[in-house]
């Protein structure tokens, strides 16, 4: 059994929770559909977003340098990190240079990807995640299970328990409003004491040197404006060429992510505050390697809305942690093998290839096609299990030639009828683990058709 399948089984062991997870994310998907339907030019926006991203990627070097030039002119320091190690060291250097002790961070999947918190912890520096969901999982030392809703795998009782332990809330209290207020008080203290704020970046505008961050809680702004030093961390693919392009992406992002018309705050950082310092750290970490890949480069258009997670029948029923990669769901399953093909070789198979992910993608990434391409590549590279490869070869052998096909049909109809169940469902019949063979028909379709034509 693959790693994903094994972890999914653990998730499914708690049936009522798995059902809740499935229903809740489907509800978010429905909200997304309703609000998308209120925008008549929705499909046009998706097409434009896709083309803008394609253009940005086609001239990525030009736009990144333009961003840097503009940012420097604005009094911003720009740093480049080719991989996770370089990124972590750069952030550490900034912290040491400013002698920062109290560091707050708003949501950034990039810092999760690079393991920044863990690295800084090993250097004796603690970072406080300020997004409520992120703070919850930070307390619990877990990974986010969703890129937009990091604590969606938890029930309020568990969060109440965690807050009781960490923040001294009343034992047994689990009211979301009560718990949120406790977190507000706790984090406001952290904001007021912050001497450095880290954020992710949703969009970086080359034309103006602006980085844009979208939140509902206002935690990015609280940190950035309270702390004298602000550090914005972006992957190279976050770039968009022009200010006007923001009009397209801000119309798509929140609608597609959570079904809101827009996030509560859409913040545009361009210059440091009076007396403050501002940094932009540009990170590659394996992205440029796939820029020229004819099959996989489209994945770099992703704006991390999480829409494909909410719609995915496999994600909803297996939970984010089953993927084992920082970005779960369909988009994670095509990004993870780019990072480590051997480690994440099972993820492209964690899909029904139904194509729903591609249908909701706001930048029109053909996610299900990429999943299929990965399956082909992984099989060619013999990274899939022997049983899978053997059974696929055997299937190909029988299906590709008429006599063989007829023969195996007869054999199969006979076997299902007469071979003992224990033999048919031997452990290597992976397919049969969760499925039942159909009742065998008396004759094949060919036989039935021939008789029908004769009579």
């Amino acid at each position: 059994m693959t790693t994903h399948a094994r972890r999914a089984r653990q998730f499914l062991a708690n049936k009522s929770r798995a059902d809740w997870h499935d229903r809740t994310l489907w509800f978010v998907r429905q909200k997304r559909d309703r609000i998308a339907a209120t925008v008549p030019e929705w499909e046009n926006l998706r097409e434009q977003a896709s083309r803008i991203k394609k253009e940005a990627l086609a001239n990525l070097d030009v736009y990144l340098e333009q961003l840097e030039t503009e940012a420097i002119r604005n009094g911003v320091r720009v740093l480049w990190a080719k991989d996770a190690g370089a990124f972590n060291r750069i952030v550490l250097d900034i912290i040491r240079q400013h002698g920062a002790k109290n560091i707050v961070k708003s949501k950034s999947m990039l810092t999760e990807e690079c393991g920044l918190n863990r690295f800084l912890h090993s250097k004796g520096i603690e970072v406080v995640d300020t997004d409520l969901g992120e703070r919850i999982i930070q307390f619990r030392q877990e990974m986010p299970s969703h890129i937009v809703l990091p604590a969606i795998h938890l029930k309020k009782e568990e969060i109440g328990e965690t807050f009781h332990e960490k923040l001294g809330t009343e034992k047994g209290a689990s009211d979301p409003s009560y718990l949120t207020q406790a977190a507000r008080r706790h984090l406001r203290e952290k904001f007021l004491a912050a001497d450095m704020a880290l954020t992710g970046v949703n969009f970086a505008v080359a034309e103006t040197g602006t980085v844009v961050v979208c939140t509902n809680e206002g935690n990015a702004d609280m940190g950035v404006h309270a702390a004298p030093v602000q550090v914005h961390c972006m992957g190279i693919e976050k770039i968009i060429p022009k200010q006007e392009d923001l009009g397209i992406f801000t119309r798509l992002l929140a609608r597609n992510a959570t079904g809101q018309a827009v996030t509560t705050y859409t913040s545009h950082y361009r210059k440091p505050k009076p007396g403050g310092a501002m940094y932009i750290v540009i990170v590659d970490n394996g992205r440029s390697k796939y820029l020229g890949h004819p099959k996989y480069n489209d994945s770099l258009k992703c704006i991390r809305c999480g829409g494909c997670l909410n719609t995915c029948p496999v994600y909803r029923r297996s939970g984010g942690h089953s993927y084992g990669y920082v970005i779960p769901g369909p988009i994670g399953s095509i990004l993870a093998p780019q990072k480590d093909v051997q480690k994440y070789r099972d993820l492209p198979f964690a899909s029904s290839l139904c194509g729903s992910c591609s249908n909701v993608c706001p930048v029109k990434i053909a996610i299900h096609e990429q999943l299929y391409f990965w399956r082909q590549d992984l099989t060619r590279q013999k990274r899939t299990s022997f049983i899978k490869r053997f059974s696929m070869k055997a299937t190909g052998f029988f299906l590709s030639e008429n006599t063989r096909y007829n023969f195996i049909g007869i054999m199969a109809r006979w076997a299902i009828r007469y071979v003992p169940r224990g033999l048919l469902y031997l452990p290597f019949n992976v397919w049969g683990r969760g499925r039942e063979l159909p009742a065998p028909p008396a004759q094949s379709f060919k036989q039935w058709y021939r008789r029908r034509v004769k009579s």
Partner: protein, 189 residues
């Protein structure tokens, strides 16, 4: 040198990407001024904000009577009291802050503020209750229209705000007052 390496890697790889610019822009709203206004109000209320429609001459009296300890940041004497160097402790005590909005977006209720409207960038977030004044004729249809009107090169910081701070990170239950303002009131003039 990370920068040189990244750019070299990009230049080596990017060859196969096709550069195409946008297809025809949509937009250009057919909505009338009053339709824009109604849509704007509907979206703001949907996002948890309160909306009050006033005549210009009523605004000051309304603000003074509706809230105690209210700080109206359109007044020079209030701005002078909260300069950019003002301490966070003092800012953290702000209960009700009135700020002037520049632009309203009908399709989502977002209101645009930039450095020139903000004596201190943290005010809209640190205040417990945020109050915007906005002239009805400053409501435009979509975010695309908004980015045609504003110029990011004019400001070091700018933000669209479309409601009180909120979160649904605990079991997807919506709670207002996550980190930023607990309440947002928009006075439409």
């Amino acid at each position: 040198m990370s920068k040189a390496e990244i750019l070299a890697s990009i230049r080596k790889q990017k060859g196969t990407q096709v550069s195409i610019r946008k297809i025809a822009q949509t937009g250009g709203s057919a909505l009338s001024v009053s339709e824009l206004r109604n849509l704007f109000i509907e979206n703001l209320k949907g996002a948890g904000a309160e909306v009050v429609c006033l005549k210009r001459e009523e605004a000051d009296t309304y603000i003074a009577s509706a809230w105690e300890n209210v700080l109206d940041f359109s007044k020079p004497e209030v701005i002078a009291e909260y300069p950019a160097t003002c301490s966070l402790e003092k800012l953290n005590r702000i209960e009700h802050a009135v700020l002037q909005g520049n632009l309203g977006v009908a399709e989502n209720g977002a209101i645009w503020l930039e450095d020139k409207d903000l004596p201190h960038r943290i005010i809209p977030f640190i205040a417990q209750h945020l109050i915007f004044t906005l002239e009805t004729n400053k409501i435009i249809a979509t975010m695309q229209d908004a980015y045609q009107q504003i110029d990011l090169k004019d400001t070091g910081y700018g933000v669209f705000i479309s409601g009180p701070s909120k979160t649904a990170d605990i079991e997807q239950s919506l709670v207002y007052g996550a980190h930023g303002a607990r309440e947002l009131t928009v006075l439409l003039i």
